[in-house]
């Protein structure tokens, strides 16, 4: 009686362990901003803290929503880019946990073993122990029990884990299991489950009294709780049901009734308890109690597997109460119900042959929280869950269904990539084209020469302006501004040029003794006027030159930026080529992998479908058994009525008139139904009917 898939339990434990890891680092950081008392209060009231690495947090975000594939992909990208800095150790553990959830058992084992390698000394002891324990649980899951025991010993968790108990139960060492259960430091839920599993193992080995005791202990443990959680109440219900059947099998019917009556009625498993209660009551000769339980079961859970058996049990109880007519009617109703159910089962089998069990298109976007949620199941499975409940409740079936949906999810992801790859190719081509255009436009000798000239001009002007400003040389500024477009500046420069020419000629004349004072004075006056005019315009010209310098600088910057961009684009050529190669490599793999995944999904789905159809076959065999029993009972009752009517003289009993009026009518109806059924299935011969008379319903 394992009620939770082990892999899910393992990964859940890992998750809880890993989410508690970020807490320490964050507390330290926050403590710098808030007072310690406040922080203490905060730490005391909260359960979870945020992760310290974005990639690690993103992995958890996907994992907590049940998306193992995305979680693993995110984690692998982070590992590839070495972007997990703070949670390195826990990332390995969480990868192991997610791998386990995703059915990658071998990978999970590798990761745990890597964590535990002798040279990996930096890892914290608690992580090592957790890894040993997970490895032990993984070995247990894979059926390697001796290895599981060795790893369990190394984990140091013998007292705190339920794994030793499971190992003992598996090896049929029940006395050791009992001992372990008494000494282990387990949570209440784990102890309850331990006692229930022990009870089941004892019952299997035929020790029914001991089994009943183990179940009772579990029930008593739950009863000690003032406000038990839902989990405890569920376990308590299971314990009561187990105890009830163990007691019923040892013919302690009163005790069994008591155990069954403790199960909560508003639960899906109440059907088993009601059926058990009914049979225990009938076997304890408390027929009315049995009838009441069966009526309740049939009214509240009419399509449950237990209700099928209840339809046979009810007329049996009527028979015991000597209510032959009621029994006959109930048997007839049961027979017609069984026939309808058989038809429905056959129809369901036909439909299942073509219906997808897990439609990726329908569930692709849905988040997955346990495969038992019928809202997310295929509509055909959901609508017929009363037939499929036994197989849907099986852990093994659910794990394989989960496997199928994982494969379908992978297939749809790969399909998405197939659709996307042409776009990525187009993007790379576009970049190639853009790069070529840029290089063609800017990466040539002419552009370099222009840039060189520009740099020289800038340097020259900058130096000249610096000197002019230092010496406040207004005439030098006029000369420097001569290249400007402004008319005033050009005129002044021209005048200065003329003056300088005249002065040179005057000096030459003076050297030869021919220059006059008047000429000298005129030249001085002209220079003075020019100086005055240049001084007046100095700031304006200086601003103009600064502006020109700024523009030159801006042009140079733009040119250099363009040059850099061009060199970057040129250097990207190998990157683009590499991206193209990577894209081609992955595209080549994509088709193969898609085909392999689709093939695997088809095989898993076919296998699951075969299992469901086989289960429906088994149900049909069971229902046919009930139907045959029902028909025999109808024949037996009719035969008994016939015998009685023949043997009973009409004249002896005045009330017999009334009996003749009513019974033949009912018998006629029953006979009519019986003749129809008998025509279809194995016709019971007279000798069968006679031999069954007086026999019990077995």
């Amino acid at each position: 009686m394992q009620y939770r898939p082990l892999s899910r339990a393992l990964s859940l434990t890992l998750t809880l362990l890993s989410v508690s890891l970020p807490a320490f680092g964050n507390e330290v950081e926050i403590a710098q901003h808030e007072n310690p008392a406040e922080e203490e209060e905060k730490a005391g009231t909260q359960k979870y803290r945020q992760a310290q690495d974005m990639a690690y947090g993103a992995t958890l975000y996907a994992y907590f929503q049940g998306n193992n594939f995305d979680a693993l992909s995110t984690l692998l990208i982070a590992k590839q880019r070495d972007s997990i800095k703070v949670h390195g150790d826990s990332a390995a553990l969480i990868e192991g946990g997610i791998s386990l959830s995703f059915g990658l058992h071998q990978r999970a084992a590798e990761l745990f073993e890597q964590l535990l390698q002798a040279d990996n000394k930096n890892i914290d002891t608690k992580y090592r122990q957790a890894a040993w324990l997970k490895l032990a649980e993984l070995n247990y899951l894979q059926g390697d029990f001796p290895k599981a025991a060795v790893h369990l010993e190394k984990s140091g968790a013998v007292q705190t884990s339920s794994l030793p108990l499971n190992l003992a139960l598996h090896s049929q060492d029940l006395s050791n299991a009992r001992q372990l259960l008494e000494n282990a430091e387990l949570s209440l839920a784990q102890r309850l489950l331990g006692h229930i599993n022990l009870g089941a193992a004892l019952a299997r080995s035929g020790q029914l009294d001991e089994a009943a005791e183990a179940y009772r202990t579990a029930g008593a443990l739950a009863a000690e709780q003032d406000e038990p959680s839902e989990e405890i109440q569920v376990l308590a219900d299971k314990a009561h049901i187990g105890a009830g059947y163990a007691l019923a099998l040892t013919e302690q019917f009163t005790q069994a009734q008591l155990a069954f009556s403790r199960v909560r009625l508003q639960t899906p498993w109440a059907t088993k308890a009601l059926l058990g209660l009914a049979w225990s009551s009938i076997n304890n000769a408390e027929y009315q109690k049995g009838v009441d339980a069966l009526h309740f079961l049939l009214s509240k859970h009419e399509h449950s597997p237990a209700a099928r058996e209840a339809r046979v049990a009810l007329p049996y109880a009527y028979e015991k109460q000597q209510e032959r007519n009621a029994a006959l009617t109930a048997y007839s109703n049961a027979a017609s119900y069984y026939q309808t159910t058989l038809q429905e089962l056959q129809q369901l089998q036909q439909n299942l042959a073509s219906e997808p069990l897990a439609d990726a298109r329908q569930f692709g976007e849905a988040q997955r929280y346990g495969w038992l949620q019928m809202a997310q199941a295929s509509p055909l499975l959901r609508d017929n869950q009363h037939f499929l409940l036994p197989i849907l409740q099986s852990d093994k079936f659910q794990l394989r269904l989960s496997e199928l949906r994982d494969l379908q999810q992978i297939n749809s992801v790969l399909q998405g990539w197939s659709d996307k790859l042409p776009q990525l190719h187009a993007l790379i081509d576009e970049r190639h084209q853009r790069r070529s255009n840029i290089i063609e436009k800017y990466q040539n000798a002419q552009f370099d020469q222009q840039l060189q000239i520009g740099r020289q001009q800038y340097r020259r002007l900058n130096d000249a302006l610096a000197q002019i400003e230092t010496e406040r040389d207004v005439l030098a500024l006029v000369k420097a501004s001569s290249r400007s477009d402004s008319d005033n500046i050009s005129n002044a420069a021209e005048m200065l040029e003329l003056l300088r020419g005249a002065e040179q000629r005057y000096q030459l004349l003076q050297k030869h003794g021919k220059g006059s004072d008047y000429q000298g004075e005129t030249l001085q006056r002209a220079r003075g006027i020019l100086l005055w005019q240049a001084s007046e315009e100095y700031h304006h010209r200086l601003w103009q030159q600064r502006k020109t310098l700024g523009q030159l600088e801006e042009n140079l910057r733009t040119g250099e930026k363009q040059l850099r961009k061009t060199s970057i684009e040129a250097s990207r050529a190998p990157q683009l080529t590499e991206l193209t190669e990577r894209l081609q490599n992955t595209a080549a793999q994509l088709d193969d992998k898609r085909a392999a995944i689709a093939h695997a999904a088809t095989l898993v789905e076919a296998s699951l479908r075969q299992d469901i159809i086989a289960e429906l076959d088994r149900e049909q065999i069971q229902i046919n058994g009930y139907l045959a029993h029902t028909r025999l009972a109808i024949a037996r009752l009719q035969d008994a009525s016939l015998q009685e009517s023949i043997l009973q003289p009409v004249t002896d009993n005045p009330q017999g008139v009334n009996q003749e009026e009513t019974q033949p009518l009912e018998n006629a109806i029953a006979e009519e139904q019986y003749s129809e059924e008998a025509a279809e299935v194995n016709k019971p011969s007279e000798s069968t009917v006679i031999s069954s008379e007086g026999d019990e319903s077995e």
């Binding site: 058992h105 992955t586 296998s607």
Partner: protein, 174 residues
């Protein structure tokens, strides 16, 4: 009478055990695991390739949402604006909220920005203390360089004020 009870218990046990009998495996578990591992690696390579192509490191900007505790705020929606233009928005389901509260970090948006100055604004809508409707904004002046930028939209509890706190935090370039 007892035989009848034993028969039905046996039949129930038989039906429960029988369902777990698997069909003959045509695709071994090891083969399946290897295939899944190869596909995960392929998906990783494709995701890296796509990121390298669509979001080159020099222009990449990534936004993440985190929630520290979340006693005072139940997140319903987030809108992200870059220079007053809506760049991303998200409506949260119960499961997504739960994943955030448990320590998960949501990758909200990834995009490209040229080097320069930007104003990043985020608007958080949800239910505040005592179930009141609550809408708050937070802003960050981002100076984008040639390095990739990582910005966290952080929701935390302010115990002293018994109010939620919202801030945008720029992480060092990875």
């Amino acid at each position: 009478m007892g035989r009848f009870l034993k028969f039905f218990i046996f039949s129930m046990a038989l039906s429960a055990d029988a369902v777990s009998q698997a069909q003959q495996e045509q695709f071994s578990a090891e083969q399946l695991e290897n295939l899944k591992r190869e596909v995960i690696k392929l998906n990783r390579d494709l995701l890296i390739l796509e990121e390298d192509l669509l979001y080159p490191a020099q222009s990449q900007v990534a936004f993440y949402v985190s929630m520290d505790v979340g006693h005072y705020f139940k997140l319903d929606a987030i809108k992200l604006h870059i220079d007053n233009k809506l760049s991303a928005s998200h409506l949260y389901t119960e499961h997504q909220r739960d994943a955030l509260v448990r320590g998960g970090i949501q990758p909200l948006h990834k995009g490209n920005l040229k080097s320069g100055d930007y104003t990043i604004s985020a608007f958080f809508t949800g239910l505040g203390p005592e179930g009141r409707e609550y809408k708050r904004g937070a802003t960050l002046e981002l100076k984008k360089t040639d390095e990739p930028a990582v910005i966290e939209l952080r929701i935390s509890d302010k115990i002293s004020k018994q109010q939620p706190d919202f801030e945008l935090v720029q992480w060092p370039a990875p």
